[in-house]
């Protein structure tokens, strides 16, 4: 079994500041971390490989300092790491990113065929959730999104049984291998890494590929050139104003509330139409 996990280095959006003039993220204001969903993706790969045996590779695209998230993945339990890093990849949107990653996956697969790709649900800096399915489409393998449990991997039959979250409940799906999963946080808990992994991670030197190391690459599909996305406008949503607080005895509060509801009937209709 060979699982490739796609990971991304992101600014910690819990603490990042937004430049009030340009409305862009001030990336210096927050440390760069492994995208939390991707950490769960690596952890899930570790759980699967514990049962089946095999190899976990991690793949990332980014500047040279993105090797930090590959090392973090090694701590969690990955075996190898690849970083594609080149000026030509810079400025990529989700379309160009999934193209570049699928080309790198092709290259990885030449050395050791890939049975499964796992991605996080989305990156916390972009929140699009498009790169995972984009890779699956280009590799022509089934994408299974919002995965909350990998129930069973059958290596003989080359199938996998998966539980995924949907708006109407959970779905149990059987997919053929190879396939691509994008995982939710509740799929697992990140384990406290064993000490040998920590030491391995510190010593590990990820493989770094430039465009020249990948094969059959259409350069017009890379980076800014290959990115049709146009960002029209960026803005910080206004902070919601505090609600109105009703005071007094419960009877008085109910009375006040009824008054408000009778006055603003649209509040009721809006709720029911949802």
């Amino acid at each position: 079994m060979h699982i490739v996990v796609c990971v991304k280095q992101v600014p910690d959006t819990k603490i990042i500041k937004i430049n009030p003039k340009t409305n862009t993220l001030d990336r210096r204001s927050a440390p760069a971390i492994l995208n939390p969903y991707d950490a769960h993706a690596v952890q899930e790969a570790v759980k699967i490989i514990e049962k089946t045996g095999g190899t976990i590779s991690v793949l990332s695209m980014g500047p040279p300092q993105a090797t930090a998230v590959i090392k973090k993945s090694i701590e969690i339990g990955a075996d190898r790491g690849y970083l594609i890093s080149d000026r030509a990849f810079a400025g990529a949107d989700t379309l160009a990113t999934s193209y570049a990653l699928s080309k790198a996956l092709e290259r990885i697969g030449k050395d050791l065929p890939v049975d499964m790709v796992i991605c996080g649900k989305h990156a916390i800096d972009g929140d699009t959730g498009q790169v995972g399915p984009g890779i699956a489409r280009r590799m022509d393998i089934p994408p299974v999104t919002n995965v909350i449990e990998v129930t069973e991997v059958n290596e003989q039959e080359k199938t996998v049984l998966i539980k995924r979250k949907s708006t109407n409940g959970n779905e149990l799906i059987q997919a053929d291998l190879p396939c691509l999963l994008t995982v939710e946080k509740e799929i697992n808990n990140i384990e406290y890494s064993p000490l040998p992994n920590m030491i391995k991670a510190v010593r590990y030197e990820p493989v770094i590929w430039t465009v020249a190391d990948l094969e059959n690459v259409e350069c017009t599909q890379l980076g800014l050139k290959g990115s049709p996305t146009i960002v029209g406008k960026m803005f910080t949503p206004p902070k919601p104003e505090g609600g109105k607080r009703l005071e007094g005895s419960s009877d008085e509060q109910v009375k006040q509330l009824m008054g408000i509801l009778m006055e603003k009937k649209e509040l009721l209709t809006l709720q029911s139409s949802k």
Partner: protein, 431 residues
């Protein structure tokens, strides 16, 4: 079989990193273990780093290290409720190479320093707590961490795990420290535009000031407060011995609040924005509290060995120097292939022969005497303030009469014999 290193250093503060740096430079296989997310993330100090001992490790470090400001002025305040007697020294020679000391922010500095050890070949593992030393036949042979499969072996384990070193306590090198052997210090980093700092402290861009504040800053208890200038922030903090805090029923954050709102301090902080709040214990037991520092396969350095000179606010420099001395002892032990206590004792000898232990010995009674006789901070500081006020207020009284009145009021308050006793005792404590 878990991996074996030549040296495992526990704690990536100034002492541990200095030791890791020097042993790695000598070609030893070194593992540096840090419990924080990164070196410096859990470390606290007022903020003054002396140049000399770091320069011995990294010549001209000021050209690359993340430093705040070189200190060109050191002020001392004897603070009363609404007045202060101050003195100090300002010298432009401290603003040029080779400098005397700098303010630093530990979260940045420690990361940089640890990176130097990594570049020299040491392995740095973060977010890992060493829970105990592995002891076999009364010899330390490795460490056990809180991680799964978390055991590692080494010829020597260097304990740089900071004040309240649990690891050296487990080995029986010292007892639980008494409340009068440690100070509790709380501090805040207050952001302020550099123009404001330069104006308020009368400084140029690359110049800094430190102020040590005695007296009312600790409500007369044994301790000090400090106010240091960084590039675009101020460090303000206050600490007293834990025993004083217990005795006076002080809450550390109340004390810091009191200081920040003191009428002579408040205007300096006006318009600043609190950015960080930190608290830490400081080992201040001095010479008599220094534990056993060398054992079979183990050495103790820095705060873990209580190497702090509270009177001269020296600690990080001593930590680095002790780390360097420990490294030299380890390298020698490796040459002999003998890691027994008698072999590693060369560290103890070097430490006791160095300025570190000589300085600690000089002040070995100071803290004890000031703790036992609170009048120095409680009574003499206000007396000094009253005396200065009287002396400099022009009210038609001849100066000689004023001097007499001042002397009289001092002896009336404390009694002539006690004043003489106090002076003699203080002189003896610091001579």
């Amino acid at each position: 079989m878990p991996e074996k290193f030549d040296v495992i250093v526990v704690g990536a503060g100034p002492a541990g990193t200095a030791c890791a740096l020097q042993t790695a430079r000598a070609g030893l296989k070194v593992l540096l273990i840090e419990r924080g997310e990164y070196p410096g993330s859990k470390n606290v100090m007022g903020g003054v780093l002396y140049r000399k001992q770091l320069e011995e490790l990294i010549p001209e470090f000021w050209k690359e290290a993340p430093l705040e400001r070189p200190i060109i002025e050191q002020r001392f305040w004897m603070l009363d409720k609404e007045s202060v007697v101050s003195f100090g020294y300002k010298g432009l020679e401290w603003g040029a190479e080779p400098y005397n000391n700098f303010t630093i922010l530990r979260a940045q500095f420690d990361q940089w320093f640890a990176q130097k050890a990594v570049e020299a070949g040491a392995l740095l593992i973060n977010e890992t707590v060493v829970t105990e030393c592995i002891v076999e036949n009364s010899k330390v042979i490795g460490v056990r961490t809180d991680r799964p499969d978390g055991e590692l072996y080494a010829d020597v384990v260097v304990l740089a795990d900071g004040v309240n070193s649990l690891l050296s306590k487990q080995l029986g090198f010292h007892k639980e420290f008494r409340p009068d052997e440690v100070a509790l210090t709380v501090m805040e980093v207050i952001n302020m535009p550099k123009e404001k700092i330069n104006d308020r402290f009368n400084l140029e861009e690359n110049q800094g000031t430190t102020i040590e504040i005695f007296g009312d800053s600790t409500k007369g208890n044994l301790g000090t407060a400090f106010l240091y200038t960084n590039k675009e922030s101020l460090n303000i903090g206050v600490g007293t011995t834990l025993s004083s805090m217990i005795k006076a029923r002080l809450k550390p954050y109340d004390l810091l609040d009191y200081l920040k709102n003191h009428p002579l301090v408040k205007p300096i902080l006006q318009g600043g924005e609190s950015a960080e709040y930190l608290a830490h214990l400081i080992p201040e037991g001095g010479f008599r509290s220094v534990p056993k520092v060398a054992g079979n396969g183990v050495l103790v350095v820095g705060d873990a060995a209580q190497l702090v000179n509270a009177i001269h606010r020296e600690g990080s420099n001593m930590a680095m120097y002790s780390g360097k001395l420990a490294a030299e002892a380890v390298i020698k032990a490796k040459e002999r292939n003998n890691y027994s206590e008698s072999s590693l004792n060369s560290y103890r000898e070097a430490l006791y022969g160095s300025f570190i232990m000589k300085d600690l010995e000089k002040y070995k009674d100071a803290a004890h005497i000031f703790e036992k006789h609170p009048q120095y901070f409680k009574e003499y500081v206000p007396m000094m303030n009253k005396a200065m006020s009287k002396f400099f207020t022009v009210d038609g009284t001849p100066k000689r009469d004023k001097q007499k009145q001042i002397m009289k009021s001092i002896t009336a308050e404390r009694g002539t014999i006690r004043v003489i006793q106090d002076m003699y005792r203080a002189w003896k404590a610091v001579k």
